[in-house]
């Protein structure tokens, strides 16, 4: 203890990332039906580290230490289980043999980079397994975060503004489905992947979106969830089998959006619009990363919605000020997106671009063209946008009406507060 030790013994999120990597590798051995065994073994290893490292110091290869201890913990649990069920001893022996073949020590690497091909492959396979279409859609994100992501139920709940028991139930149901449907551990196989990739991309997109749009809850956890979506998207984009221009586009989109994280709320937690954000505080290196990914995404034979969304995000990212934003380019992107994916939310966002190019009356006309959308009936941004266009037109009565509607529909405190502020500002104007 008294000998000199390296000060940076633990890289950020080492436990979280290693937990994900080891759960993935152990799941390859035990199969997804026994996901709990893999998770328990990893938890055993982490708790052992918690008891030992404060006194003995962080080992020279902390990741390798965790891997070895988890592997041994899995063997212990397996053997204990084996003695209770007689007819299955041969299964236990088979598992023990497979486990014994896992490397004794994982090589020492910085967690940010891919280590062995095998470890990356296991994580990729775990993502693909979690995104199996047989698993309930609302559970895929939570399952991915819990297994590959190394997030705890508490953290997932905080990031998604859901109750812990809700998340726990989703995970339980997902694991039951995996057992019932005998969902296998995915193979990172060029033949298998094309049908699974869209689901994986969608899950990561939704994961990022959840962490990004929530304004309540633990700020750091939400940023971590976005960081995790990006990390997994990059794993996919950088792998020879799963790397496609579309995957790069997804990474680009995440990078550009994540760059604004530092400025989206002020110190008091109030929402800050694009126009009011301090662009100097945007993460420049994240924007550069996005630009690199966008470049790689351009090597595509077809334009995907992710490409277009990344393009729109890049317009904001490169604009030196809100006033200098190239809204014509953004509108052109939205037109192309509409052609590919005509959804009410896309149309709503396009209407904002229309208003920025051609004025609030044109924006209102674009919203009117939407008609009565049941999908947007509970979406607070629709009346909020109408209210804003009316405000710019000078029709304060209409603006107040729509803002009031928006406030009722808003589901986060910062959003509500922001809209109330706007409403108060209008009321003091009279008219």
């Amino acid at each position: 203890m008294s000998e000199a030790r390296d000060i940076d013994g633990l890289v950020d999120h080492l436990f979280r990332h290693r937990s994900g990597a080891i759960v993935s590798s152990l799941t390859r051995v035990f199969g997804p039906a026994d996901l709990a065994l893999a998770e328990d073994a990893v938890q055993d290893a982490l708790e052992k580290a918690l008891r030992q490292w404060p006194f003995r110091g962080v080992p020279a290869n902390p990741g390798g230490w965790l891997f070895t201890v988890a592997r041994n913990a899995a063997l212990d649990r397996l053997r204990r289980r084996g003695t209770r069920r007689d007819g299955e001893s041969s299964v236990v022996e088979l598992m023990e043999a497979r486990l014994a073949r896992l490397p004794e020590h994982a090589p020492e690497h910085a967690p940010e980079h891919a280590y062995d091909c095998e470890i990356v492959d296991d994580q990729l396979a775990m993502i693909f397994t979690c995104c199996h279409p047989g698993i309930p859609a609302d559970a895929r994100i939570a399952l991915t975060l819990k297994t590959v992501g190394g997030f705890g139920i508490r953290e997932i709940a905080a990031g998604f503004l859901a109750g812990e028991s809700t998340i726990a139930q989703r995970l339980t149901r997902a694991k039951r489905r995996i057992r019932e449907a005998k969902i296998p551990f995915a193979r990172v196989d060029p033949e298998l992947l094309p049908e699974r990739l869209p689901s994986v991309h969608d899950v990561l997109y939704l994961m990022f979106n959840e962490g990004y749009t929530a304004h309540d809850g633990d700020h750091l956890v939400r940023r971590d969830i976005c960081a995790e979506a990006l990390r997994l998207a990059e794993l996919i984009a950088d792998h020879p089998v799963t790397g496609t221009p579309e995957a790069h586009a997804l990474c680009a989109l995440f990078c550009f959006q994540a760059a604004r994280f530092p400025t989206r709320q002020d110190d008091a937690g109030a929402l800050l619009l694009l126009a009011d954000q301090d662009r100097a505080a945007w993460d420049g290196s994240m924007i550069s990363r996005g630009a690199v990914r966008l470049e790689l995404a351009a090597a595509a034979d077809r334009l995907t919605p992710f490409h277009i969304e990344a393009g729109i995000a890049s317009c904001h990212a490169v604009a030196p000020s809100f006033e200098a934003t190239d809204w014509r380019a953004i509108l052109a992107y939205y037109d192309r997106l509409t052609a590919l994916r005509d959804s009410p939310v896309v149309a709503l966002n396009r209407a904002v671009a229309v208003a920025m190019c051609d004025g609030p009356a044109a924006g209102l006309a674009a919203l009117d063209a939407l008609g009565d959308c049941p999908q947007l009936a509970a979406y607070y941004l629709l009346p909020a946008t109408r209210g804003e266009f009316n405000r710019r037109l000078g029709d304060h009565a209409a603006a107040r009406r729509f803002l009031t509607q928006a406030i009722k529909l808003a589901h986060s405190d910062p959003a509500r507060r922001f809209l109330k502020q706007r409403l108060d500002g209008l009321q003091s104007h009279g008219s």
């Binding site: 008891r51 003995r56 110091g57």
Partner: protein, 115 residues
């Protein structure tokens, strides 16, 4: 300079499992503390205790062995550090900054008698 035994006890954690991120935060706090102590020349050693409550032995003729000193079996963190300090007051002051206390554990501080 004298040596002091810091015996760290903690209650078993009843609130369920820590997440990987939470475990890392705890480990990092202990690591930072012991490194600071070590760099200042105040730490002479330390180790963890084995995972059980231990036993208490009593009696001269017939020795009884009972569970103790704590009846609870699963301490989350149990171990000791050996501090180097000029006197008990300084050792106590150093102990106060140990993250163990912030996590709800107790620290028993005893001076090791010099020879």
């Amino acid at each position: 300079m004298a040596q002091f035994l810091m015996l760290l006890h903690s209650e078993p954690s009843g609130e369920g499992t820590y997440t990987p991120e939470e475990i890392q935060a705890v480990v990092q706090k202990y690591q930072a503390w012991s490194e600071k102590m070590g760099a200042a020349g105040k730490l002479a050693g330390g180790n963890k205790l084995a995972n059980d409550a231990g036993k208490v032995l009593r009696g001269a003729d017939s020795v009884s062995v009972v569970d103790g000193p704590f009846a609870e079996t699963k301490e989350v963190i149990g171990g000791y550090f050996i501090l180097e300090a000029s006197d008990y007051a300084e050792a106590a002051e150093l102990s106060k900054s140990c993250p163990h206390l912030a996590f709800g554990g107790t620290v028993e501080l005893r001076q090791i008698d010099g020879m």
